[in-house]
Amino acid sequence: MKHIKSLIELSGVWFDYHPDRQMKEQWALQDINLTIQSGEYVVVMGPNGSGKSTFARLLNGLLIPTEGEVRVGDFSTSNGLGRFHIRRKVGMVFQNPDNQIVATTVRDDVAFGLENLGIPREEMIPRIERALEVVGLVGFENREPAHLSGGQKQRLAIAGVLAMNPEIIVFDESTSMLDPQGREEVRELMKELHQQGQTVIHITHSAQEAFLAERVIVIAHHRLQLDYPSRDLYNQSNLLEQWGLEVPLPIRVRALLKNQGVELNEPIGNSDEMVAQIWRYLSKT
């Protein structure tokens, strides 16, 4: 069998901010093992305080495992040289749109990462143009960040990351502070990036967003609880309730019907399939 090399590999990862002061069973993250392949669209879902943001920060070496190892490609986050290379491979978009924009205009902010990498000016200009084109901010080059909407600010942050040509983009709750329109803008962009072959990892507590991905990982109580293709998880998503997560509406309807003695047992992978099933139930007589 041909061995497929995974892009990201976490093996036996334990982490805590104060490992010497905490009992091991209270550490922020416990015994995480998983691999992510190139080109995947993964959602990491969990309630607030579950450790999912800590997980995100382990991926690009902003945090380093207390035990175990995080590998990205050929490098490990546990040593300085590895982190140097990994920061170039893994781009990160954070939660608060205001707190990640460094420069006073849109163009300069996209340039910031490129300047840090020491990219020559002639190469910077086309890369900035392209990144702004992808996120749909052409024409905003000289705007000040204070005059952008929340969704636009997040798209700017994404452009700043894209210009650096990363292999993986991690969205750390990047939609949670946005209004519905801004959220939609960012989700659309994620989908587009994935279709263009980017590896997308999205950290969120929203069920609605989780089922847009191909694969859903649930982190709760500091541990990895579930890791399913999203279609499979949808059908048994009432499991999510035990961690305080949202259960999609059609699955809630099915559970309520079951309580009243109406069992609809065909597995469903999305809302439309539930509509079809209800329709069959109503027209059976």
Binding site: N48, G49, S149, D179, L282
Partner: protein, 285 residues
Amino acid sequence: MEISFQDITYTYSIGTPFEHRALQAIQVQFNQGDYVAVIGKTGSGKSTLVQLLAGLLLPTSGVLQVWDTRIHSRSKKLGEYRKKVGVVFQYPEHQLFEETVAKDIGFGPKNLGCDVAEIEHRVSEAMSWVGLSPDLRDRSPFELSGGQMRRVAIAGVLAMRPDILILDEPTAGLDFRGQRDLLSILKRFHQHFGCTVVHVTHNMNEAAELAEQIVLMSDGKVIATGRPVDIFRNLPNLQVSGLDVPDVTKWIMSLNQKLSTPISTEIYELSTLVDELIHRGRRGS
């Protein structure tokens, strides 16, 4: 009609290049004791509207009549009026400042001139309303989790026992369970004290679930006002305002595309929907 906006206009930064008309000829009335939801996109003027109601901004023109108080462009000394209005701003945990939870919640009642015993009583009562355990009283609010800090901030406003309670996106950034808990607290508080609640949101599910009256805003104007069914029946109005129907309604609408006799879109409770489905299943549709 105890609260009425009479032809109110509000303009920011008059006489500068940043001049911006946020509200235009607003005419709207709220009934005392109603739960009112104000919905609209970011920038539709809904935050400005509630800041006027809170006595924090003065109208550029027009009159706001609240019981026997008339607020207009030259009103002075609104301190007394403001004491009757409680406001929970977006991310209210960012306003906490006291050393202990009890002191922070007591800040409002103290400003109202309550004596020590009364403050004590109101703090305990507010803490139990929001579901904070009494042993948190003497803890620093900054040691608490994000969700608990939000509860402390809200308790600080509830402890003032306002006649009008204004909430600006109270559930923003909370996870699913946090949102559900908070909404049920607000619902019970409103039913118990009978105060007028004005809840600003861009979440249609919240508006449908809680509101007796909905005010739909777009572009600084009130587009429509009425019961939830009146608002969500009028799809063109919602689309013009860039809003959607609640999730339940959306799902019923997709089911209705397959049914010869459509299910009423005036159902917002899942249990009612399920009863209807079962009823139809027995009858054979």
